[in-house]
Each structure stands twice: as structure tokens, then as C-alpha cells.
Amino acid sequence: MSDTPSTPSAPATPVLEMADVRKSFGPVAALRSGTMTVESGSIHALVGENGAGKSTLVKIVAGVHRRDGGTLRFEGADVDFTSTAESKGAGIAVIYQEPTLFPDLSVTENIFMGRQPLGRGRRIDRAAMLKETTEIFERLGVDIDPRRPALGLSIADQQIIEIAKAISLDARLLIMDEPTAALSGVEVERLFAVARSLRDEGRGLVFISHRFEEVFALCDRVTVMRDGAYVATTDIATTTPDAIVEMMVGREVGELFPKTVATIGEPVLEVRGLRSAGTFRDISFDVRAGEIVGLAGLVGAGRSEIARAVFGVDAYDAGTVTMRGKKVRPRRPRAAIAAGMAFVPEDRRKQGLVVDASVARNVASVIRRQLSSLGLLTGRAENKASGPWAGRLEVKTNALDMAATTMSGGNQQKVVIAKWLATEPQLLIIDEPTRGIDVGTKAEVHRLLSDLAGQGLAILMISSELPEVLGMADRVLVVREGQITAELDRTEATPESVMKAATAGAVPTELTPVLPDALLKEVGA
């Protein structure tokens, strides 16, 4: 990178120093060189696209994963955490996007579980516990009843519980992993106020976010990562969103996503006025034959939930789903399949595959009724039916009777797609088509989707990777907080327009998003 870190004036002592930290999972290098220095009394932003290695970096600091190499120092001492308890004990707290609490227990117990203050005879001193909780909440300026159960708390309140826990533990480093993704504007403001007061107490904070407005409103410095590697660190005051996005993307988007032009035909799927209380509302859109419609938005915006409702996995409260002019019964995946829908879910290991079963069995699983004779399904019939599909998708497997679990993520994804193509669908709904797939296979999956569209298949693609959406989709629907906030044609869809529609409203109003021209060019829109 030409933009070398400008070694900004270090105002305080570093809490966390990471240099060249590496981590691989099997053949996939999730983190190639993690480098970051966080000073006490500052808020440090960590930005990068999905898959840039931020989460892996955080999990190494948190003690979830152990690093393969590199140095990690906390408060000046070399550390090597083997468990979350160790990192917590050292003074590190991680606040995840969706905290994990005990729903049955009170807010107070959630904060103190495992280290409750003890009174005489090692009895839990409930009064002291309640008092400290109340004090922390007062200090943070939040209004949560410490006695209520954690069950039913909003995500924002759950995060506050996690922060309160961190304070009571006297954590010197707080890492917030996309805390604002599921928060409303008011809640974001409250979280920021809390974060600033923690900074002013001299703690170090790491803030991970996709929203530049928030990064610029809150943070002092920023570290950019790309493809598992450190790119640069700069002071927020001396940089611009343009510069950061340029560092984040830094590659030719067009090459990776070879969408071929397809003739777009009649509407296959028509969704009208779909609503599910508390999840999404007013969802109306079409997907036409030969068309790839991208469903973009932030994680947690309700995209997957919409897809699940359309396919009939989840119930919805109002609205209609129509395939080729015929209404599809709600809450009946089998009706959706019969109507010509196919659904490749987000978590293929859990929802898309029977991982212990053979490739052939997986591919044949949806059409098993057609294949069986007299109610019996033979392995020969499965092999016969699945062979051509596996071949066509270039599933790299020695034998069809190999267990799916032994295959790479990319090949597993192809098996899931093959399974659905065997049903000869008219509509393919695919959630995060290339998550956890290496770059080479990614391109294959993209080419495959593009080819399928070229043959007249209608495709609804959910993706959190902006370049993937922009590269692949003929049309982009942006979902924010359960609503479609923009419908953008391929020519209109730019990082700027999509990001704006995905985040607007949840950002402080005085900071209108200023996004770069550089990225526009790279997408080749």
C-alpha cells in the first residue's frame, strides 16, 4: 500500500499491541497478518469488508482462538490466552452484536454470575450486588430494571448489560464487534455516550463497524484490514471516508464476478405486502426469469427472514407470495418446492446438508420421492440421479458415496446447489452464496449462478458482501430494519447508493455519508 501508517503521535500507553498475528483454519487463512495497537483512553475503529479477518482477530484477543504466530501484548506483557476466562481475567471484554445472556436470570445476576459479592458464610450478598448494578447503570445513564429477567431485553439493552459486566470486571480493553448493526438511532446515540464515558475513564476501546458515519463520529483512530491482512492505521482527524474505503476495497471488483448478460423474462416470483411482526413489513418485489435480484443490507436487517418466509420455513402475518401467477401456501416449504422454489440456506452445514450422508444421498434428498419405487429408495437410483448434477457443477469429489462433511466449503455449497437443481426449480433463493468459501471456488460459484440465470432461472441472492451484490445482481433491493429502503437497477447500484439505503436513519444526522468516487470506478458501474 502506498498509504503507509503515518505513526501518529501516541498520546497514551498502549493497552493492546498486536503484530503480524496469523491464524488458519485448515487450508483457509482467516488472518494472515493482524496488526493493531490500541492506546488507553482512546476509541480505535477496526474496519474492513466481511471476511477481512476482523472477527478472527477479535476472537484471538478474546481467547476463543489461539494464534498460529505473531506477537500479542496486553498492557505491556506478552500474552497467550487459551480461554475466554483468561482474557477476561486479564481485563479484556468483548461485546458481541448479539450478546449471550442467561434469559431466566435477573439482569443483576447476569452481570455478576460466577463472581457474586459474598457476605458472611460465603452467602451471596444480594443487596451489594443490586447496589453495584444500580450504580453502574446510573453512571452509564441507562434505565434498566436490575431485577427484571434478561428474557425479553432489546439487543441494545443486552449490550448495555455486557458493558456493565465489563465495567464491574474493571476491563481495560473493551472490544465492540458491530454493536450498532441491530440498533435504532436513539440506541446508537446512547451506546456512543456510554463508549465516550468509558474512554474518558482511561479505558481502551475497539469499535468494529461497517458504518463510516459512526466511525468518524466516535473514533480517534482507525485500522483498516483487507483479505485477512493489515492495511493501515491512521488518525481519524487526518483521513476521509474516501481514503478508508479505498484501502478497504483495493481490488478490481469486476473481475471476480463474471455476470453474463441474460435476457430477462416474465416475473417468476411476486411478493406483495409481506409482513411479520417485529421482523419485516411492507415487503413487495418481483424476481423475473433470467434475473438475479440481490438482497443487500446489514447483517440483522431481516433479509434472511424474508427469504425464509417466502420459502415457507417461517410464518408471516400478512401478504402474499405468488409463483408464476399462482399463490403459494404460507408456512409450507413443500408447497414452495412444488411451486418451483429452491432455497440454499445461509448455514449449509446445519441447514443445507446432511453432512454425514453421502454426496449422492444429499443431492437426491429433495427428489427422493420421485426416485423411489414402491416406497423404496435404492442407492443406485440416488447415484444415477445425482451423478449428472455433480458432474455439471464440477463438484470435486472422488466418489459420490463420500460423506459431505469431508469436502471443502465450496464443494459443499455446490452439492447444496446441485440438490436443488435436481428439482428443476424456476426460482433459486440463495443466502450468502459464498460465505466461508475460498476465493477460487467463489468465482466458480459466481459463474455457476450467472450461467443458471442465463438459462432462465430466476435467482434471489442474499449477500453481505457488497462487491458480490454489485457484481452479480441485475437489480438490488436494499433492506434496512425490516423494510426495503431502495430498489436499484444494476446501473444505479453503487457502493454509495447501497450503503446509504442500508444505513440511513441509524446515523447521526449531521454526518451525511460521504462515499468515494474511487469505489464507483472500481465497480465499473
Partner: protein
């Protein structure tokens, strides 16, 4: 958005903190109305009242009064132990067999070691129960196999050991010292001694679950095992402890059985493990862990035993007696579900509003 936190309804007993004064009064009142313990106690009183109206010796005779208090004592011990296991999201189906083994051990010790002090026999029974519980606990906590399967297996294994050991033997009242058998009939202020023991055990368990860190951690583990790991709780150790305590109480229940009935046959405790689970569920202990109190399980146990004794008096045939117990369990589960749904809807509305 509440996907991470949708489960059973919260229980007042699982809450933390001491309420302020104004809230205390309202909390106590609302808690009483919503409290499962009180609801089950009311049902229990109704059952006793109806049975007494039908036949006044059910409550008003000396025998009736004694049986009313004494009969539940064994199930009380088992339910208290079972409750601790259930609250961690496990279950122990082997308690009936454990109880049979310790009941037989009790008789065997009196026969084989003449003059053995009673307290040693009691402790031996508890210790054997604890060891059998330890086996369950090790397999469940470290074997990563669901407790349902593990304890189903040990249920048969323990029963098999007992049958092999006892052969065609049968312990009779004549085999045991009169001082021991007297414990089964001894009363303090008209209250049977064994009942006092059982209630004391329940009280100790209740105190432990409420005031000890490890007791609270049992709730935490059952409420969300993944969160418990993230919190750095010693999950296997705690689960192991729950099984050991449950086994020890089942062991004590075996000794109590020997003292109470004076005989030990091979059928001791057959099927009682499911009654213990049923008692806990009726008493409001969530079957998926995380909430409920030992008092609820205890009152559930008393209700189960008392209903079984009251139904014949009401002229209800045997078949229907079992159906009534089943209906109670189903009713309790449905009630839990309805309350949980209502609660989560209320929270949803609070958030949206």
C-alpha cells in the same frame, strides 16, 4: 430480535436482588398470585379437603394424619435431588434403581454386620448413592452424551446389579434392628421424623440454590449452557456436583424406604424416577433448565403422592388415577408454555412501545 432470549418464562425464585419497600409489597402480592408454588399448594389443599369431606379419616384420624405427612417423604427427597439436575438442563432416570440398591445395602449391612450403628448405615447408604450419582455425573459431564441416554442406561445397570446381588433374597423387618425401624414410626409433635428429615433436606437444598455461587451457577448452566461457557463457569464440575447430590439424596431415600416399610424387595423404586421428574415439572421446574425452585418440586411431590392416595377414596378406578397424574403433568407443561408466550409477547410490546 429476541431470538437469542426466547425460552421459558422467568420464575420469581430465579430472580436476584432485594426489592425496595414499595415494590416489595407489590412484588410479594403479584408473586403470590403468579407463584407456581402457591398455585400447586392450593390444588393440594383442595384435594385434601375433598378427600376429607368424602372420608374424614383421610385427614382427621391419627393414621390419616401420619400417612398424609409420611408417605411423601421418599418422593420429597428424590424430587429435591432431581430438581437440581433438571435445573442444569439434564435429567436423572437412575434414581429409582439407586434407591433400590441403597435400600438393599441397608438391610444387608444390618444382617452381615450385627450391631452396626444406625448412623453408619445411613451414611453408607448416602455414600453409595453419591458414588452412583458420580458415575452418572462423570459420564454426562465429560462424555458429552445426553443425560437422558446415560441415566437410562445406568437405570438398568444399577437395577441389574441390585437384582444380581439380592438374588431371591428379600430383606424383612426381622432382619433389621427395632431401633432402626422405629425411625419409620417415630414422631415429634405428631409430625413423623422422616418427614422432618425430608423437609429439612428440601430447606437445605433451597438455601444452597439461593445463596451459594455454585447454586446460582446451576441455574445459569441450565438457562444457557453456551453463555455459561462464555462466562467461564466450570460447567462440567457443576453438572457433576448436581448428579452427585441427586444420587446422595436417592441413597438417603433408599435408607428411608427401608426404615419406613421394613422390607426391601427387588421392586423397590420401580418407576419412581418418573414420578420425581413429574413432581418437579408440576412444581414449575422448567424441563429445559434455568428456572424453578426446590419448594415447587417439593409441593409437586406431595401433590402427586397425595392425589394417588386420595383418588381411591373418591372412588376413581386405578386406570383413571394414572390418567389424572398424566393430566397434571400435561397441564403444568401447557401452563408453562402459555405463561412463557404471554410473557415474551409482553416484553415485545414493551420494546415496540
Amino acid at each position: 430480535m429476541s431470538a437469542t432470549l426466547t425460552k421459558s418464562a422467568p420464575t420469581p425464585g430465579a430472580g436476584g436482588g432485594t426489592p425496595g419497600r414499595g415494590a416489595a409489597v407489590r412484588g410479594a402480592l403479584g408473586g403470590a398470585l403468579r407463584s407456581r408454588e402457591i398455585a400447586v399448594a392450593v390444588v393440594l389443599l383442595v384435594v385434601v379437603a375433598v378427600a376429607t369431606v368424602r372420608n374424614d379419616s383421610f385427614l382427621l384420624s391419627a393414621d390419616g394424619w401420619r400417612d398424609l405427612l409420611l408417605t411423601p417423604s421418599i418422593l420429597l427427597l428424590l424430587a429435591a435431588g432431581q430438581m437440581m439436575v433438571i435445573v442444569t438442563r439434564s435429567v436423572d432416570l437412575s434414581v429409582g434403581s439407586t434407591m433400590a440398591l441403597t435400600a438393599y445395602l441397608t438391610g444387608r449391612l444390618f444382617i452381615d454386620v450385627p450391631g452396626i450403628p444406625i448412623i453408619v448405615v445411613v451414611l453408607a447408604g448416602v455414600a453409595l448413592g453419591a458414588v452412583l450419582g458420580l458415575v452418572n455425573g462423570v459420564l454426562v459431564a465429560y462424555g458429552q452424551v445426553p443425560a437422558l441416554v446415560i441415566t437410562l442406561g445406568t437405570m438398568y445397570v444399577y437395577r441389574g446389579i441390585m437384582l444380581t446381588w439380592a438374588g431371591s433374597d428379600r430383606i424383612n423387618a426381622g432382619d433389621m434392628p427395632s431401633g432402626f425401624l422405629a425411625l419409620g414410626t417415630k414422631q415429634v409433635l405428631t409430625i413423623p421424623l422422616l418427614t422432618i428429615v425430608a423437609v429439612a433436606v428440601v430447606a437445605v437444598v433451597g438455601y444452597y440454590l439461593h445463596t451459594a455461587r455454585s447454586g446460582r451457577e446451576l441455574y445459569a448452566i441450565g438457562s444457557d449452557p453456551d453463555a455459561a461457557k462464555l462466562y467461564g463457569l466450570k460447567v462440567p464440575t457443576r453438572v457433576l456436583t448436581a448428579f452427585v447430590l441427586c444420587g446422595a439424596l436417592a441413597g438417603l431415600a433408599g435408607v428411608v424406604h427401608a426404615a419406613r416399610y421394613g422390607t426391601v424387595s427387588s421392586g423397590v423404586g420401580n418407576g419412581i424416577e418418573l414420578q420425581a421428574v413429574g413432581a418437579a415439572v408440576i412444581g414449575g421446574v422448567a424441563i429445559f433448565g434455568g428456572s424453578g425452585t426446590v419448594w415447587g418440586a417439593a409441593i409437586g411431590a406431595v401433590l402427586l403422592v397425595t392425589i394417588n392416595r386420595a383418588l381411591p377414596i373418591l372412588g376413581i378406578p386405578d386406570f383413571w388415577q394414572r390418567a389424572v397424574v398424566g393430566a397434571l403433568i400435561l397441564g403444568a407443561v401447557v401452563l408453562d408454555r402459555v405463561l412463557a408466550l404471554r410473557q415474551s409477547r409482553k416484553y415485545d410490546e414493551e420494546r415496540e412501545g
